[in-house]
Symmetry: C2
Subunit: 118 residues, 2 copies
DNA sequence: TGGTCACATAACAGAATACGATATTCCTGT
DNA sequence: ACAGGAATATCGTATTCTGTTATGTGACCA
């Protein structure tokens, strides 16, 4: 069980969605959410509804496209897939993330002066 | 020169400010901003004014405190320092960041299927 | 037939950074 | 002595995103 729910930072959800679609192929919103939670080792728990706003954004920008179909359970579901533009964007996002992680690492590593403490 | 300006994600600026104060001791807003840019290797470029909203937030929460003084150039400046509560918070923030970076790494590493591509 | 789960849409609240305008004070060049 | 610019701070607004909650629909099962 996850220690505590891990909140997300602005933009990280969209990247994970793109990555998930790139890695899994076409998938419906519900499935994408479950997959992200699973891959994260259940550290991330997406509130029901949270993923859809992301999907709307991404589709609106032309990075994913949707098509109605039926899930494995015969239920009506919208299947999303990543577009070529989406792949390009994903590449940029990953590069951005690595840069940010690098910079944060550098900043957080700047040594603290030896203070008495609390 | 930086390739391109690196935008920040929600919350990362506040953590960097706390860390900077913990590492440098009391410092004024302008100095904190310059320091963050420097430590980041000039990848981060803080727009003038951006840092102050962060300082207001942190002070409002009791994580930093301010005192008017004079900068090395004899100009009037507000010197901020981290409080005990701020140090606790910084620890939590760093832990959070590491968790998020870890999870993002896991998600972004999920293999893409071999697709023709674009 | 009634319930629950899979799956989707919509709308608002909260929070933080980007950006631009403005004010003050000190320092430097002429 | 004066103009201009750098150091330093404040404020207000636009934008964007996640959290959250309410609501709807169709399948499956007891």
């Amino acid at each position: 069980m996850p220690e505590s729910k891990l909140g997300l930072l602005q933009g990280t959800l969209d990247v994970m969605v793109l990555q998930t679609l790139a890695a899994m192929g076409p998938q419906h919103g519900y499935g994408i959410a479950r997959r992200i939670e699973q891959v994260s080792g259940d550290e991330i728990l997406l509130n029901q509804g949270t993923i859809y706003a992301s999907l709307v954004r991404l589709q609106h920008r032309g990075w994913i496209r949707a098509k109605w179909g039926a899930s494995e359970n015969k239920r009506k579901a919208k299947f999303y897939s990543i577009t070529p533009k989406g792949r390009v964007r994903l590449g940029q996002d990953v590069a951005y993330w690595q840069r940010l992680a690098d910079v944060m690492g550098r900043v957080l590593a700047s040594r603290a002066r030896e203070n008495g403490n609390a």
